[in-house]
C-alpha cells in the first residue's frame, strides 16, 4: 500500500483529483460572489461621479446614490472617436460594442446642479509610479473645473506624498478653478509664494510637498481631459 502511494500512477491521479476539486470550489465561489462584486463596482464608480460633482450622498447607500442621480438629473452619454472629433452613440450602439468587445467608446456624464449644467468624465492620468484613474468634472462651457476625484486606492503613488491627491484639501482646490491656457497648473512647492486658494481665476492650485512629479502628472491629466472634452462636445 505504501509503495503504491508513492507510485507514479497514484501521484498523478491524486494531484489531478485534488486540483480539480479545489479549482471547482473556487469557480463556484467566484460565481456565487459575482453579483455582489458587480454591485460593488457600480456603487464605487457612481460614488466617484457624485464626489466629482461635489454632490453629497450617504456612503455605500445604493438607494441614496440612486436618489441623488435622479435629483440632479445625472445622465450618461456615449461618444466614439470619428476622425479628428467624436460622434455621439446611442445606447443600442454601445450595447453592441460591449457585446462584440470591440471598439472604444467614451462615457460622459452630465448633471444639473442649482440650475447649471456640468459635465464629468473618467480619466486616467499618470503619476510618479503609475496610472491614476478617476473622474473629473467641468462646467458647461469647459472654462472651469467643477471637481477632481481620483479613485481611492487605485493608484500607486506613495502614501503621505503623491497619495495625498486623495485628500480633500487638494481635490477641493480644483472646484471652480479657471482653466488658463488650456490647463490648471499644480504649482511646484518652492517656486515663489503659495497660490491664493481664494483666487479661482489664476488657474493655479497648490502642489504637494515632496510630490512634485505627481503634481506635474495631474497638471498633464487635467490639460489632456480639457482637450478631449472640447473635441467631444465640439466646444472651442
Amino acid at each position: 500500500m505504501k509503495d503504491f502511494k508513492n507510485s507514479f500512477v497514484y501521484t498523478v491521479i491524486f494531484v489531478f483529483v485534488l486540483a480539480f476539486f479545489f479549482v471547482a470550489l473556487l469557480g463556484l465561489t467566484r460565481e456565487a460572489t459575482a453579483d455582489q462584486v458587480k454591485a460593488n463596482e457600480e456603487v464605487s464608480s457612481k460614488s466617484s461621479i457624485l464626489k466629482a460633482f461635489h454632490i453629497p450622498f450617504k456612503k455605500n447607500d445604493v438607494a441614496d446614490i440612486q436618489a441623488q442621480f435622479q435629483k440632479y438629473q445625472v445622465e450618461v452619454k456615449y461618444f466614439q472617436q470619428a476622425g479628428a472629433g467624436y460622434q455621439p452613440l446611442t445606447e443600442a450602439q454601445v450595447e453592441a460594442l460591449k457585446a462584440a468587445k470591440s471598439g472604444n467608446f467614451v462615457t460622459v456624464y452630465s448633471a444639473q446642479i442649482d440650475g447649471l449644467k456640468y459635465w464629468a468624465k473618467t480619466f486616467v492620468g499618470y503619476g510618479l509610479w503609475g496610472a491614476v484613474p478617476g473622474v473629473m468634472a467641468f462646467n458647461e462651457d469647459l472654462t472651469r473645473l467643477a471637481g477632481f476625484e481620483p479613485y481611492p486606492g487605485q493608484h500607486s503613488e506613495t502614501p503621505g506624498l503623491g497619495g495625498r491627491i486623495e485628500e480633500s484639501w487638494f481635490k477641493d482646490q480644483f472646484k471652480g478653478e479657471k482653466v488658463v491656457g488650456g490647463r490648471i497648473l499644480v504649482k511646484k512647492i518652492g517656486e515663489g509664494a503659495a497660490p491664493d486658494p481664494k483666487n479661482k481665476d489664476d488657474g493655479i492650485v497648490d502642489g504637494i510637498t515632496g510630490a512634485t512629479l505627481t503634481g506635474d502628472g495631474m497638471t498633464r491629466a487635467v490639460a489632456a481631459e480639457i482637450k478631449t472634452m472640447k473635441l467631444i462636445l465640439g466646444v472651442q
Binding site: 502511494k5 508513492n6 497514484y10 501521484t11 491524486f14 494531484v15 485534488l18 486540483a19 479545489f22 470550489l25 473556487l26 465561489t29 467566484r30 460572489t33 455582489q36 462584486v37 460593488n40 463596482e41 464605487s44 481611492p152 486606492g153 487605485q154 506613495t158 502614501p159 503621505g160 506624498l161 515632496g210
Partner: protein, 222 residues
C-alpha cells in the same frame, strides 16, 4: 515534541516562545508592507489566521494520502485555495479594504508561516491540533503586526483605527500640535520598529531564561 503538544502549550509556544515573527523570523514581508494602518493590519491578520488554520487542518486530514514526493506542491495547492477564497470574499464584502491591501492578500500564499506550519506541524499531527496550531500561529503573527501598526498609525497619521487621537497641526486654521512623521507611513519605519521589537523581546528572553525557547530544554533536563 509533536505528540506531547497540548492546546495550551501550543498557544503559549506560538504567541511567545516560538513566535513566528519574533523568534522564527518568518512572514516579514507583509509585516513591513501593511502595518501603517491598524484596520488593514487586523484584516490581514485574520486572513492569515483563516488561511493557516484551514490549510493546516486540510493538510493534516490528508497527511496519510499525500505522496511524499509532491507533498509541498500539494500543500501550496491547498494554501492557495484558502487564500483565494479569502480574496474572493474580501472582494465581495469588504472591497475598499481589499483594494487597500492590494496584492498582499494574495501574497499570503507565499508567507513562510503558512507553509512552515503545514510542512512542520500539520504533516505529522492530527487535524484538530493542526487547526489549533494554525490559529495560534496566526494570532502570534497578528499580535506583532498590530503592535507595529499601532505605533506606525499613531505617529504617521495621528490616528488609531482611523479615529484621530493626536490633533494634526493645520497651519491655515491654526489648530493642532502634532506633525505626522511621514517616515512612519513608509515601509522603512517598519524595518526599524521590527528590529527594535526583536531586540527587546530577545533581550527579555535571554535575561529571563524561563521566558525563552531555552526553557523547554531546561524543563526537559529536569
Amino acid at each position: 515534541m509533536a505528540n506531547n503538544t497540548t492546546f495550551f502549550s501550543n498557544l503559549k509556544d506560538n504567541i511567545w516562545t516560538n513566535n513566528p515573527i519574533l523568534v522564527q523570523v518568518l512572514g516579514i514581508c507583509s509585516t513591513l508592507a501593511v502595518t501603517n494602518n491598524m484596520t488593514n493590519t487586523f484584516i490581514m491578520g485574520m486572513a492569515l489566521v483563516f488561511a493557516t488554520s484551514f490549510s493546516s487542518f486540510t493538510v493534516s486530514a490528508l497527511r496519510n494520502l499525500i505522496p511524499r514526493k509532491v507533498r509541498m506542491i500539494v500543500q501550496v495547492v491547498i494554501i492557495s485555495f484558502y487564500v483565494i477564497i479569502v480574496d474572493l470574499l474580501l472582494n465581495a464584502y469588504l472591497p475598499e479594504i481589499r483594494k487597500t491591501l492590494g496584492p498582499y492578500v494574495g501574497l499570503i500564499i507565499t508567507n513562510c508561516i503558512v507553509m512552515g506550519r503545514a510542512e512542520g506541524f500539520a504533516g505529522q499531527n492530527k487535524p484538530l491540533i493542526s487547526f489549533w496550531d494554525g490559529v495560534t500561529s496566526g494570532l502570534g503573527y497578528s499580535a506583532v503586526l498590530m503592535l507595529i501598526a499601532t505605533i506606525r498609525e499613531l505617529l504617521g497619521f495621528g490616528t488609531l483605527l482611523g479615529i484621530p487621537v493626536f490633533q494634526v497641526y493645520d497651519a491655515a486654521a491654526g489648530t493642532g500640535w502634532f506633525t505626522p512623521w511621514t517616515l512612519m507611513i513608509t515601509p522603512a519605519s517598519a524595518f526599524f520598529l521590527l528590529a527594535g521589537l526583536l531586540w527587546f523581546v530577545k533581550t527579555m528572553m535571554n535575561r529571563k531564561p524561563s521566558l525563552g525557547p531555552g526553557a523547554q530544554a531546561q524543563g526537559a533536563k529536569k
